[in-house]
């Protein structure tokens, strides 16, 4: 399957701030190829704030982390491929619908926002267990498998 757009959970926003994630099989090079193949990349404003909070807890050169974070933020904001989602009325309606799933507050916001895209890349098992909710949730491993199948079918 070929994906034209993806909604990224915070885990997959971190690499744009020069912070990699410990997901099995993940590499910047592979991620770059995935991102390159997409027409649109969607992220939540919440993920940007979460990424900032996480970046403050990293015990390496603080000024470099801050500088790179700031650079990543301006690249994300300026790249035409990227859509940064704020919280809109349509998201709020879905939030109310999904609130009963027992997810966390931010989880529910991100899930609600990702419905407009229809596919969410995440490693969160609570998301990955959800079915028939108007958004397909997929992890890195499944994404690579599906993309490989899509490439063979081309």
């Amino acid at each position: 399957m070929q994906f034209r757009e993806l909604y990224l959970d915070t885990t997959y926003v971190m690499p744009f701030f020069y912070l990699d994630v410990d997901v099995k099989g993940f590499s910047r090079a592979r991620y770059k190829e995935v991102i390159k193949s997409l027409d649109r990349v969607h992220v939540s404003e919440i993920s940007l704030i979460e990424a900032k909070a996480k970046s403050l807890k990293i015990g390496v050169d603080r000024s470099e982390i801050n500088e790179r974070f700031n650079e990543g933020l301006s690249v994300l904001a300026a790249d035409e491929k990227v859509v940064i989602h704020g919280y809109r009325a349509v998201d709020d309606k879905r939030f109310n619908e999904f609130h009963t799933f027992g997810l966390g507050f931010f989880d529910t916001v991100i899930l609600a926002q990702s419905c407009t895209v229809g596919i969410l890349l995440t490693e969160d098992s609570r998301f990955l267990r959800l079915k028939d909710i108007g958004v397909k949730t997929i992890n890195w491993d499944a994404l690579l498998r599906e993309m490989a199948v899509g490439n063979k079918e081309k």
Binding site: P15, Y18, D20, V23, R28, V60, V75, F105
Partner: protein, 80 residues
Amino acid sequence: MAEYIVKVGKKGELYTPKKLRLKIDMAPGDEFVAVVEGEEVILRKRKTIVNVLEEEALATVSAEELKEERSVMEKELLER
């Protein structure tokens, strides 16, 4: 530091020497940001998210830690 002569065309186009194009890996469609500081003009390659991923990461974070971070932030927000 290397210096290059860039000529200006009739309509304001900037003509870059091949040596410069090769050195900075300039390709058609690339965009630059011109930063003006007094009499100096610095051209900075405008990065995309793909360019960012071509560079090395400073550190690695765990997906589990991110999950925990989310819980902490939620707690802070909801207890306000």
